[in-house]
């Protein structure tokens, strides 16, 4: 390992902003050295240089390097292409895949500075996050994801050939509508490789079908008919939050291949689930590290002033947070929020104030790498904010909350960045990143097994927030998967469930 004093004498890595493969390699080696120096733990890296068109391809399959084919990805591609061509949007400089080895795509249009930034950001920042955050460790399997995606694509293609493109498309449409309800939150999946996956898929198919038949064999016989419908015990015995899983295992109308496709969508949803819950943490972490690493490069005299100016220019535009009243405001910038929290943790360790000692007695004056490493490993956005959002960050970002109660005529500023407001803001922001409050809490509550086989979902309305306009359309998809009527009962203000949506199977 080189110490920084030796490095001052080193030659600059490059003088111009042009990149070459040799230079990429050189820069990467220096960045890797610095990252290792700090103690970042990463998967091996695979850095791929791609063109703008390929970047748009990668965009449209939401970052899956091999995706099954579906029109919605085509729509995504068309809208990205359209906006890009008209100049409404720039493309991301990078896309990174949570896999082992960790694949990072760099755009060929980037300058050398941008490539270095992206390598530090994606190949070391995101990469170490993927490898070490507990959600990713629990829910995704970086070793087998590429294999699984490949399996999924081949399987979907095979089904298209065998059962018709339209049939498969309809099924996928319905699954996509419920994709967010295809994740397990409390169980740990088993790890499977491609070979096993294919073998097991066939076994599963047969087994499943036999199970389903058993389930519906409990249909009323003549003797049982005397029992009234109300006496039927509620089934499933506990509400099921993973709707797609429930469909896959229990739908009376799906065929084996359809169950497998439901499973594929569910698996992919599960793979992306941690990413949705760690946006602030993940982007903040990656931003923190590209900033730290590139600054170290500069301190060691390896890069030029011009390089550094360009770097700072892109860095500041990435973390720009427009104020709420700006026309560019579109919510909190996760890069900014995350970076601010990590940087403030570092500051607290290096130069703690009295306020820090009061709010974060365990952290103030500690070893900064240990502190942020712990924070990165053991939290998701919601808990991360509730644990680490400091008064200083609240002050710096001038955060405030507005209470909107539809029962009242006006909005109220419920807290601002002052002594009384810190805790309120911290709780409200944490709540805002709670996936449960961003997505309706919807569970399979009851199946009417003795009667019309209808499915009843229960929506636990949080803070009396109603369901959106699309709900009825989603129900149509659910009916397609379930085969019989589906209803939603929502929790009303009085704490009672009442029927709010219904979709009959004939529709």
């Amino acid at each position: 390992m080189n110490s920084s004093t030796e490095a001052v004498t080193k030659k600059r890595l490059s003088e111009t902003s042009e990149w070459t493969f040799e230079l990429l390699d050189t820069y990467h080696r220096e960045i890797a050295r610095i990252a290792a120096d700090f103690g970042l733990d990463t998967y091996p890296n695979q850095i791929e240089v791609i063109s703008a068109e390929q970047m748009m391809d990668a965009y449209s399959t939401v970052g899956m390097p091999v995706g099954y084919h579906h029109w919605s990805f085509g729509k995504q591609f068309l809208s990205v292409e359209q906006r890009y061509k008209r100049g409404f949007m720039g493309l991301a400089y990078e896309i990174v895949i949570n896999s082992n080895p960790c694949i990072a795509y760099l755009m060929e249009e980037n300058s050398m500075t941008m490539q270095a930034l992206v390598i530090a950001h994606a190949s070391y920042g995101h990469n170490s996050f993927f490898k070490n955050n507990y959600l990713f460790k629990t829910w995704t399997n970086a070793d087998s994801i590429i294999d699984y995606l490949l399996f999924a694509r081949n399987y979907v293609t095979k089904c298209e050939e065998r059962y018709g493109v339209a049939e498969v498309e309809m099924l996928l449409d319905s699954c996509h509508a419920l994709m967010n309800y295809g994740v397990d939150r409390y169980k740990r999946p088993k790890k499977v490789s491609l070979d096993n996956e294919e073998k097991r898929q066939e076994e599963r198919e047969e087994y499943l079908q036999s199970q389903v038949n058993d389930l519906w064999r409990t249909l009323p016989t003549d003797q049982q008919k005397s029992k009234s419908e109300t006496e039927d015990p509620i089934w499933p015995s506990e509400p099921q939050e993973n709707i797609l899983y429930f469909i896959e295992k229990n739908s009376p109308i799906l065929e084996n291949w359809q169950r497998e496709i439901v499973r594929i969508v569910r698996k992919i949803a599960q793979y992306f689930y941690p990413q949705r819950q760690t946006q602030v943490m993940n982007e903040g972490w990656a931003t923190f590290w590209h900033y730290t690493i590139i600054n170290r490069l500069y301190d060691e005299g390896l890069v030029t002033d011009g390089f550094m100016l360009e770097f700072l220019q892109s860095h500041t535009s990435v973390i720009y947070q427009p104020p709420f009243n700006s026309r560019y405001y579109s919510g909190l910038n996760p890069y900014t929020l995350g970076l601010n929290i990590y940087q403030d943790l570092k500051r607290m360790c290096e130069s703690p104030t009295d306020e820090d000692r009061e709010w974060f007695p365990d952290i103030a004056g500690g070893d900064w790498f240990t502190v942020i490493d712990f924070a990165m490993r053991n939290f998701k956005d919601e808990s991360f904010i509730s644990q680490y959002l400091s008064p200083k960050v609240i002050r710096d970002m001038k955060l405030f909350t507005i209470l909107d109660d539809d029962q009242r005529n006006s909005l109220e500023v419920s807290a601002i960045h002052n002594e009384r407001g810190y805790k309120h803001i911290r709780n409200a922001l944490s709540e805002q990143y709670n996936l449960g409050s961003r997505e309706p809490n919807m569970q399979v509550y009851k199946i009417n097994r003795r009667g019309d086989r209808s499915m009843t979902l229960r929506y636990d309305a949080h803070q009396q927030r109603p369901l959106n306009q699309e709900t009825n359309d989603v129900l149509k998809h659910l009916v397609r998967l379930w085969g019989f009527s589906v209803r939603i009962e929502s929790l009303n203000e009085g704490g009672q469930y009442e029927l709010t949506h219904e979709c009959n199977s004939s529709v």
């Binding site: 890296n45 695979q46 240089v49 085509g74 026309r327 909107d404 500023v413 009396q464 959106n468």
Partner: protein
């Protein structure tokens, strides 16, 4: 172990399949856009892409979500003037998201994207299929085309490549005569110096002179051009698929056909031509116009010169048959014919036309389309009546009436609708 890989060489059209799926799914919208474009554009302008708008509600992918209303406590950055307890009037929309939504809600109402030229044309020609196309395509690869392939040292005199041959000869002459020339120059120089000291009769002078003479002969004996200098252009046979078609455009130019009628005819022919370019690599056009006599003309003359006189349609049909016989053997050509007329004909001529078509032309032709530029409810002339019989006799003959340019496309489609029963 880190790898840096250049993926740019990989294909960029990974999304092509998904794009196609999208297009298939929204075909009805796209077709509407295409048909609109067809109505607006001029026919010569037909072959380019088109921008398509689809209402975004038609392509949304619904998911469960939380709607407006209820209680929410939302965080915003960049506070300037607010303190705790301030109240703000609810923005007009009554949205729970407050200002942010109304400010930045650009709200895409329409999903816009561009169809490429190919996709546009594909939709344009969809459902249209020329029948009996298979027939002559069986003759594919039966034709050969000569293409140049370097030079050979044997061949027929007509193929001699002069430049190449002369280059070879020059090189050979230099190679063979060069050494002798050098010796000759030396000998001549030696003779020159010798003559300064001695007389002409000196022995050494005589030997030198003999030697010089010998060298000169040797040099002379190197031929200016030799048989093995000669190079011939080489040509080899390359098979060409006979995806070729000839399209006969027949039009009545008698006095009753005005520029307006001709214009409609032209549009119809253009459309047919465009359609044929989709199916065949090479298409030849033959323009035949007629009044009482038929004449083969060029395109300009066909559409824009005027003649007057009566009408004898059979003259054009006869000429067509002749031209097919002379220039377009059916084994090599797919033959199509389209006729535009206002329906006037010399009454006695119409049965002759019918017989000509049934007996002579239709057996050789893939498809014959007849359009009559007249109101739909106008009384049927003799030609129309006789042609009705033809169309009953042969599925390869179709006829249609049209009166205005905007009827062309529907008529065109009707004429070339897929023949499901086939």
């Amino acid at each position: 172990m880190t790898q840096i890989i250049d993926r740019r060489i990989n294909g960029k059209n990974k999304s092509a399949v998904n794009r196609q799926k999208f297009i298939r799914r929204y075909k009805t919208h796209l077709k509407k856009a295409v048909e609109g474009a067809i109505a607006e554009r001029s026919i010569t302008d037909m072959e380019r892409g088109e921008k398509v708008n689809i209402p975004s509600k038609d392509i949304s992918e619904p998911t469960f979500g939380i709607g407006q209303g209820g209680i929410r406590d939302t965080i915003y950055p960049g506070n300037e003037e607010f303190t705790t307890g301030d109240t703000i009037d609810r923005p007009q929309q009554g949205s729970g998201q407050g200002k942010s939504v109304s400010d930045s809600g650009e709200g895409e109402d329409e999903f816009t994207f561009a169809l490429s030229r190919e996709e546009f044309m594909e939709l344009f020609f969809e459902d249209l299929e020329l029948p009996n196309m298979i027939k002559t395509q069986l003759a594919k690869e039966a034709q050969y085309k000569k293409i140049r392939a370097g030079y050979t040292s044997y061949g027929s005199p007509s193929n001699i490549n002069v430049i190449r041959s002369m280059k070879g000869a020059l090189a050979r002459r230099i190679a063979l005569a060069g050494p002798h020339k050098r010796t000759l120059h030396e000998a001549e120089a030696a003779l020159q110096t010798l003559l300064e000291t001695v007389d002409e009769g000196d022995d050494r002078v005589i030997t030198l002179r003999e030697e010089i003479e010998l060298l000169k002969q040797r040099i002379r004996r190197v031929p200016y051009i030799d048989t093995f200098d000669i190079r011939y252009n080489n040509r080899i046979d390359q098979p060409v698929p006979t995806t070729q078609a000839v399209m006969f455009c027949l039009m009545d130019v008698s006095g009753s056909m005005g520029q307006y009628e001709k214009d409609i005819g032209k549009r119809f022919f253009t459309l047919l031509y465009l359609f044929l370019t989709r199916s065949y690599e090479r298409i030849e056009l033959v323009f035949i116009r007629h009044h009482t006599v038929a004449k083969e003309v060029n395109e300009q003359e066909f559409f824009y010169s005027r003649e007057t006189g009566g009408t004898v349609v059979s003259s054009a049909l006869k000429l067509t048959a002749d031209i097919i016989k002379k220039r377009y053997p059916t084994s090599d050509w797919n033959i199509y014919a389209a006729q535009a007329s206002d329906g006037d004909n010399w009454t006695d001529d119409s049965p002759a036309c019918r017989d000509l078509l049934i007996n002579t032309l239709l057996p050789q032709i893939q498809y014959y389309a007849y359009i009559e530029i007249a109101e739909d409810n106008s009384p049927a002339g003799s030609l129309w009546r006789e042609y009705m019989k033809v169309s009953q006799a042969s599925p390869r003959f179709v006829m249609q009436k049209l009166a205005t340019p905007d009827e062309i496309y529907p008529v065109f489609r009707k004429l070339f609708e897929k023949q499901w029963h086939e």
